[in-house]
Point group: C2
Chain length 357, copies 2
DNA sequence: CGTCCGGCTGAATACGTATGCATGGGCATC
DNA sequence: GATGCCCATGCATACGTATTCAGCCGGACG
């Protein structure tokens, strides 16, 4: 429990002790003008190697670092991207959606690799988010992450486009959307899961998750599921679809509800891994064995999925790639190059939860 | 797959279409001086309500936002904190340590609550991190997160203190440390786990994790464990301690090694949940039942812990509180108030993995 | 020997905001 | 009616950097 103290530091001359050094101080020390200091440190070919070295030494001696605020002001860009994470306010309050965590990691890495800083912010739906960051020049562009009803903030996206704000969005890629989106091919993912069940002879596959077009994240998964059923000549029984949002609690509720109302089902496809895990718990509580009685699959392949019991079959979204693509697209837009929406492939990860012994 | 397009926007006058508006534009439009615009928007009592309202309307009309770079330059602070996450380069390359994820979430929230932005950056150990952020005024202070050998960068911390950089560190609170640290009371946590085992009659409790004082994160846990053994009059058998870093793979290896060398143990205390999960897998592979044959406990209470099979007994670090304390301490330092290192209490979470039937 | 050119450097300015100081107008006081 | 005061606003400047333009020096060439 030590208090902060400031021991003497021999190598730093005392005339810099408190006030941070500026380029003018460096210029003075190196016997050149401020202009030359700026040029030297930015690597301009106009300055001779000898002078540059002298300046570099002086800068080091005074612990000088370029003031980003001044630099950004002058250059009119910030070398920073902003990540806005929209959290569904109906969440159980605990943690961030694990899938976003994974995406966050890869975005951070991608930014670092491109030499950009990353500003992150968790937004409540209500706040006036479009106001910030990019418009105030804290960031050169923004990345929008978040489930939810995108119709609700579609107007805002359109305004962003109109103002000329650079942004990319993670989520469903749809033809009429404002701006650039990057998403995974959840339709194919939904198909793959349904086919996987159908191949095992399942005919009454329950779907846990909102299936309304207002929630494109889940809707695409549902459409893929429905499409696979149709292709196999199976009916899509509405009684087998239960709304749920992406939490364990919600998954547990949905599954319990389905069981309670006596629905006949022989497989469960949850629209997200969290829902699946909640559902598996509910199934266990009601005496169902997974996968012997009911095979189950989820979606996202969050780290928890492989540690669920039994390990959960799910659909892997390549978050590493996703982060890179998001950042690359945004940087393209910032550089004024054209950027297009991108749909990434997904991969079915078959584990024990979906394979009947 | 839509290209970015810029539809006409009726409500925005065309003379602002491209160039962002400045406070001078607003001043012009509202018929006042730039100074008054600045005062009005910052809520200065010097400007009359009537004028303020007129200015606010003009600002809205032109989509004006204060340029943070210019503002920060003038004010000499940034309203931003930087979070530096040090990753052990020996990690299995996949994801961020889940415990940090949780901390990250709470730090973000705490920042938002205090009106600060958060800049995050994953650092490789090699990079010249002390150079950035705070010194370049991109951030008013920095938060350091990361396991690892803190002796290795102790010199850097001392330099930070000397330069006058504001920072807080998450990690072991030790009397001789430079700067302010916030950490959990891992010593007590280690004690609690060991006592929990001892109460059940275990006498040969293995410890998986580095027990060297060079890794204070784990060392404290080990000390607590050793202390509880001593208090119970049990010998501390060095053969029961195996080095491991905080990954599943490493935990698996350590456990396998312990079994291979024929060590006699009747409980396993893993220094982190990831290690514990890897160890449980190894135990299962060798035919041990958890907890019937060998009770197991971990540390951290990452989300995965309660979904392991069986659910893992572990030690909860209150990350929510930790994030708040980190941010609060840092803000205190920024405001020039004294700040002290803080040690937070922990809580033993008993689940199935450690309780013999 | 004069001229010109190329290679470096310095002086001056702009980026957009916030604030100390000065100012003007209105009102009360004597 | 002159003085004083307060309130609201404008003027001018500083924050620290990056860049344009102008200048200087030395050498090559005519």
């Amino acid at each position: 429990m030590v208090m902060l103290s400031a021991p003497a530091v021999p190598e730093v001359p005392q005339h810099v002790s408190k006030a941070k050094a500026t380029s003018i101080d460096i210029a003075h020390l190196a016997g050149v003008s401020q202009a030359t200091v700026s040029r030297a440190l930015r690597g301009s070919p106009l300055v001779s190697e000898e002078t540059r070295e002298r300046i570099r030494a002086a800068a080091e001696q005074l612990n000088y670092k370029v003031d980003k605020n001044a630099s950004n002001l002058r250059l009119q860009h910030s070398g920073t991207l902003a990540l806005l994470l929209f959290e569904d306010p109906t969440t159980d309050g605990s943690n961030i959606n694990p899938f976003f965590h994974s995406l966050l990691g890869s975005i951070t890495r991608a930014c670092a690799q491109q030499g950009y800083d990353l500003l992150i912010s968790f937004q409540q739906f209500s706040t006036d988010w479009h106001a910030d960051y990019a418009d105030s020049k804290k960031a050169d562009g923004i990345i929008l992450l978040g489930y939810g009803d995108y119709h609700a903030y579609r107007a805002r996206l359109e305004k962003l486009v109109a103002i000329g704000t650079r942004f990319v969005r993670w989520g469903a890629v749809q033809p009429d959307q404002p701006g650039v989106s990057v998403g995974c091919d959840k339709f194919s993912g939904g198909q793959a899961v349904a086919r996987h069940f159908i191949e095992q002879g399942c005919r009454r596959i329950a779907f846990l998750g909102d299936a309304s077009s207002h929630y494109p994240e889940f809707f695409e998964r549902y459409r893929g599921y429905a499409d696979a059923l149709a292709q196999a000549g199976l009916p899509a029984d509405e009684a087998l679809q239960v709304d749920a949002e992406s939490t364990q609690l919600s998954g547990h509720r949905a599954m319990t509800g389905l069981i309670a109302r006596g629905a006949a089902f022989d497989a469960v496809f949850a629209a997200s891994d969290l829902i699946a895990i909640g559902a598996m718990r509910a199934l266990a509580e009601h005496g169902y064995k997974v996968p012997a009685d009911v095979p189950v699959a989820g979606f996202d392949d969050i780290p928890m999925a492989s540690f669920a019991s039994p390990p959960l079959t799910t659909v892997l979204q390549d978050t590493r790639r996703a982060g890179e693509v998001l950042v690359d697209s945004l940087l393209k837009m910032i550089r004024g190059e054209p950027a297009q929406s991108v749909m990434l492939p997904v991969k079915l990860m078959v584990r024990q939860s979906s394979v009947r012994p």
